[in-house]
Each structure stands twice: as structure tokens, then as C-alpha cells.
Amino acid sequence: MLKMQDVSKVYRTDLIETYALREFSLEVSAGEFVAITGPSGSGKTTFLNVAGLLENFETGSYRIDGTDVRGLSDDQRSRLRNERIGFIFQSFNLIPDLNIYDNVDVPLRYRRLSTRERHERIGSALDLVGLSSRMKHMPSQLSGGQQQRVAIARAIAGDPAFLLADEPTGNLDSLMARQVMELLEQINELGTTILLVTHDPELARRAQRNVHLVDGQISDFRTYEPRAAPDAGLAHA
């Protein structure tokens, strides 16, 4: 479970203070699929960075599965991030000079798993996204949709409890976007909690809950009916 209580995040310059998050409170239960929407500059990405332990916050409290992250050392935060959280980015952020296998391997390396276990996890993750036949390909040899699926495989290879996705379909055409979304829904149904930042109201509607941000504060909550089960088998770009 992810629980933020009155979290504030301020960016300061010599002249001004800008609140990216202002007394922000949110509780996300295990297995939820939550969409975070809002206009540009509303604090969506900052929320995701704070939630993913990539940025600190000034005030408030934040617990992941009961662990108060305030006061954790960088090593502890990094371990928590590595073991409990997966990231998916708008621009994929694959490492260009590593092949697909090695890209998915990155988070597992920091977990110091055995070679055999890493190999099994990479195989399973790439199987799930339908790219196990492209292990030796370089990112530049794949389409945008395929690259994003590799990024998803990398995010889930470590079997995280939370998947934080920042505009994961923002750089994709509508067909590929739909495929990526279906993949995320499938992962969610396997039990992974997903927080999806998006501009797209259609995508947001596919989540179970929509949190709308304005000026670093939640302005609206909407809860949707459970979506229909995704099509069996995923279309591959």
C-alpha cells in the first residue's frame, strides 16, 4: 500500500517558491490501477518522482507498505525502489548501447540475483510483452511500441509491487498506445499496483480511479466501474 499524507514539495529559486505538491494526500491500495491527470505543471510528474523515491519532499509523510520513507538513507531508498517500484517513462529511457536482454537486466543487477534467476526473470518478462525473440536486438532496431514494451518488461522483471508510468503512451500512435495500455491492464490484473500519469482522458477512464491534480493539489476524484477483461493474447507491434 502507498500512503501520502499532507506531502508538500517546493522548488525554490532566489526569487520565488513554487509548490509542485501542496499538502497532497493520497492512499493507493494494493492491486489498484490509478490514473493521475491534470494540466501541464499541475504536479503529476513530481508526484510520480516523489512516489518513486527519486525526489524528496519538504513536509508530510509517505509510507510504502508501512515503511516511512522519510529518514531512509540513499542505499535504503534505492533498495526499496529497486525491489518494490518499477518505472515506465514517456521516452522509454532504454539504454541505447545495451541490447534488449541487457536493458531488462539492469534493475536485476542491482538486486544481486544469481545469473540463473536473472535469466529466468528476463525471459519471463520479455515473454509477457511478446519480445522474447528480440533479446539480442538493440533498442534502435525496434519500433516505438516495441521499445515501450521492453521498458515495461524491464519495469516488471523485478516483480515490483508498484508500477509508476509517466505518459507511457505519449510518444506512440493510437494503435501502439492501445497495445501498451492493454499490456498495463494485464499486468495490473496479475496483481501489480499501477499509477499512470496521463493527459489522455480516454486512457484515464480505463483506470479504476482517476485523481485529477491542479496546482499540486487533488481537485477531483473519480472512481470507474471495473473494466472489461482485456483481449486474450496481446497484439504485437
Binding site: 518513486g52 525526489e55 525502489r81 539504454i95
Partner: protein, 450 residues
């Protein structure tokens, strides 16, 4: 750090090198040139400053007495040395020799003569006229035979010791003990052939240049007077006195003889010092030694310093070499910083995927270590090439004779280890900041901007 992670970091470092081959090559070359220059200067410095007979530093002494001009001290160049002359008069040196106070005593000078009578063409060669204690005193290695006994010193026996290279030229390297040769038309019998022996610096006679090779022939000292020879080395005179005849020269105040004594303990040193001081007082009463008393027994280490075998230029050169290495390393810091920051987005991804600052730091430090190691290895090769070039240059200057510069082909092992260790440590130290800096970058900023 786990071995598997170290292997992973090395793997990433190699990939990083491939990503920026030009920048990587620039860093490796910067370190390599810095290390090469340090290795070259350290080797030359060590060759010029090392005590080649350090194990006898507490028992081997050169004898000097200030018999110089009462009105002005001995000078080197235009500067007064504030030391006694490095050589002795015949009278003073032979007095020390005949005193018999030392375990071993060597009095000697260098001359030049023509060898004949061995079947080959006449050959001009440098020859050292020395007492027989020279060989055991300086631990000279023999290939065949040995030196001569004290009984062969006076009256002088017609015996000669050859260097190994001269034996190869005259007798094709065969055991020539018992064979004869003619030196300036006087016949001498070979009693010994030296093995390879290149003390550097040539501590026992620094007047001919620290890197001059040892002489090719060694003949008993007393033949100098018997054959009416003059030194081919330094002869320093201060007194206006006639020097036309051999008798006048040998009795003159000119200094031209090296004098060495082996004194095994403090008591023998005190006895020798007292003897010199008494002799000085006696001679002073007779009208000599017009300067303040300055009779010295100087060990080899001090001797090399006194005679400025290692001059300030060499020390400055070593300093400059290390300054050059420092400049190379500072450049490397800049290049490392540029390289690491250019990959900040990738580092941001790694941080997001669970790499801690410490792991990012270690990953980049591994890359620095590989650059340092490669640069040092290349520097070692460049240093060897540079020393070979120096050796070639000086070998040509010495007309192919073996000499001290021969030794420059061989690294000063300690110096090289120091230079490499220094380069690796300095590069690692230089890489600490860039590696630390890249670990402190806010990953969120670079994740959005990639």
C-alpha cells in the same frame, strides 16, 4: 563490492569506452604521456643518483685533504665548493697508501695507451692505474682469473686485468688469463678478466662524467711512475711551480689521484682521521697546507652529493615531470567530468531502476580505474621507447662502447612501480570528484530530458 558487480561495472566501462572512443583515447593518452615522462625522468634520475655500492656505505670512504691555494678555496666552474679538492697530490695519496692503516687502500688515476701484440691492429684504450685493492674493495666481479695481490703493487709486476668487452675484442671472449699483450710497448700478462660491471654513477672517479664506462684495462698503480705517465683525467694545479720533469710533477701541489680506503669500524675510521690530521699538522709545519684544516673521510653517498652528481637540474626535471603528470591528470578530470555528465541521462535511468549513489559512484570509479590502468600500461611502453631512444643517443655518443647509459635500457623497477602506482592512485583520486558528482545528479531531471 561483490565480484559479480565489479565484473558488471567493468563490462559497462568497456561499453562506455566504445560509446566515446575519441574521448577515452584522449584520457588514456594524457595519462600515458604523463606516466612515460615520469618513468623516463625517474629512471635517469635514479641512474644518476643511486649509490651503486650502497652495501659498503658505512665502510668505504674517499680521502680528501684541503691542500689547495691558501688564498682561495677549490672551485668548480666559477663557484667555490667549500670542500677540499676531490683529488689528492701524489705525495699525500701515497702517504695514505703506505700508512697501511686501512683494511684496503686504493690510489689510482686514469691514463690512455695503445694495446698491441695480440694479433689485431693497435688499439687506443682508457686504462686505470690502480693498487690491487681496487677489485676486492669495490666488489668487482670476475669472469676469469682475479686481480693482483698487494705484492704485485710494489715493485709493480707486469700484470693486467681486462674488462669483459676488451677481452672479447682482443681474445674473442676466451679465457685469456696467462696471455700477454703490449701496452705502450710494454708487455703485460693477463691475470684476470672482469665480468659485466657498470657501476653508475662511476662513483670512484666522478671527474670523467658520471656515466662514463669503467676503463677497459687495469694496471698496477706504480707503473705510472715507472713509465713516467701523466693522468689523462683531471689534473688541477693552483701553485705556480715548474712541472717540466716527471720528478717535478710527482712532487707538485697538483691534485690528480683518487684515494679510497676501506675502514670496517669506527675505531679504524678514528685512527685514519687522526693520522690525516697529524700528517696535515706535520706538513703545515713544513710550509704546506696553508688553508684551515679540512681532512675528510667521505662515504659514497655523501661523496655523490658533494660532487653534485645529481645536480639541481635533474631534481628540477623530476619536479617538472611530476608537474606534467599533474597537468595530464587535471585534464583527465575535465574529460572525465565531460564524459560522465554526457551520460547523465543513462545514469538517471540506472538510479530510477534501483542503483544507489554508492553503486553509481563505484561503477564510474571502475571506469576510471580501467582508464588509469590502460594509460599506465601504455605509459610504461612509451617510457620504454623513450629510454631506448635516450640509450641509442648516448650509445652513439660513446662510439658503441658499453657504459652507464646501457643501464638506462633497464627500468628503475622501484621508480617505475612508484610512477605507475602514483598514476593509478592519482587518476583514481582525480576520478573521485567526477564519479561522486555524477552520483549526486538529480535523476528526475535527466529522466524527463532524455
Amino acid at each position: 563490492m561483490q565480484a559479480s558487480l565489479l565484473g558488471y561495472y567493468s563490462h559497462l566501462a568497456l561499453r562506455s569506452f566504445r560509446r566515446n572512443p575519441g574521448l577515452t583515447a584522449l584520457m588514456v593518452l594524457a595519462i600515458a604521456f604523463g606516466v612515460a615522462v615520469c618513468i623516463m625522468t625517474l629512471t635517469v634520475y635514479h641512474a644518476m643518483s643511486g649509490n651503486p655500492i650502497w652495501w659498503k656505505n658505512d665502510r668505504l670512504y674517499t680521502v680528501t685533504m684541503d691542500s689547495w691555494d691558501p688564498n682561495s678555496g677549490f672551485t668548480r666552474g666559477n663557484a667555490e665548493t667549500h670542500l677540499p679538492p676531490p683529488l689528492m697530490t701524489y705525495r699525500d695519496a701515497t702517504t695514505v697508501l703506505h700508512a697501511g692503516l686501512a683494511e684496503r687502500t686504493v690510489v689510482m688515476f686514469e691514463s690512455s695507451g695503445v694495446i698491441s701484440g695480440t694479433g689485431g691492429p693497435p688499439l687506443r684504450t682508457d686504462t686505470r692505474f690502480t693498487t690491487g685493492d681496487f677489485f676486492p674493495m669495490f666488489d668487482v666481479p670476475f669472469l676469469y682469473g682475479s686481480g693482483w695481490s698487494r705484492s704485485a703493487d710494489d715493485p709493480p709486476q707486469p700484470v693486467v686485468v681486462l674488462s669483459r668487452s676488451m677481452n672479447e675484442r682482443l681474445f674473442a671472449g676466451a679465457n685469456s688469463v696467462g696471455r700477454t699483450l703490449r701496452w705502450n710497448d710494454h708487455e703485460f700478462r693477463v691475470v684476470g678478466v672482469l665480468d659485466y660491471w657498470f657501476p653508475r654513477p662511476l662513483f670512484y672517479d666522478v671527474t670523467e662524467g658520471s656515466f662514463a664506462p669503467p676503463e677497459d684495462l687495469f694496471i698496477p698503480f706504480a707503473w705510472g711512475r715507472a713509465l713516467d705517465l701523466r693522468s689523462a683525467g683531471n689534473v688541477d694545479c693552483w701553485k705556480a711551480e715548474p712541472l717540466d720533469t716527471s720528478e717535478q710533477f710527482f712532487n707538485s701541489e697538483c691534485v690528480w689521484l683518487q684515494t679510497w680506503v676501506e675502514l670496517p669500524d669506527r675505531a679504524s675510521r678514528e685512527r685514519m682521521q687522526a693520522f690525516l690530521d697529524n700528517y696535515w699538522a706535520e706538513q703545515r709545519r713544513g710550509g704546506r697546507f696553508g688553508r684551515p684544516r679540512d681532512n675528510r673521510l667521505t662515504n659514497v653517498g655523501q661523496w655523490l652529493r658533494d660532487q653534485q652528481v645529481v645536480d639541481n637540474d635533474n631534481r628540477v626535471l623530476v619536479g617538472l615531470a611530476f608537474a606534467f603528470l599533474l597537468v595530464c591528470l587535471i585534464n583527465t578530470v575535465g574529460l572525465l567530468l565531460a564524459k560522465f555528465l554526457s551520460a547523465a541521462a543513462i545514469t538517471g535511468v540506472r538510479r530510477a531502476l534501483g542503483a544507489s549513489r554508492r553503486q553509481v559512484f563505484m561503477q564510474h570509479l571502475t571506469e576510471v580505474a580501467l582508464i588509469a590502468g590502460t594509460g599506465s600500461a601504455l605509459g610504461l611502453g612509451l617510457g620504454a621507447l623513450g629510454l631506448a631512444a635516450v640509450h641509442h643517443m648516448y650509445a652513439a655518443a660513446h662510439l658503441g662502447r658499453p657504459g652507464g647509459y646501457q643501464e638506462l635500457m633497464h627500468f628503475d623497477r622501484t621508480g617505475v612501480l612508484w610512477a605507475i602506482a602514483l598514476a593509478i592512485l592519482a587518476t583514481l583520486a582525480a576520478g573521485l570528484y567526477p564519479a561522486w558528482r555524477v552520483g549526486r545528479l538529480p535523476p528526475a531531471v535527466y529522466l524527463k530530458s532524455q
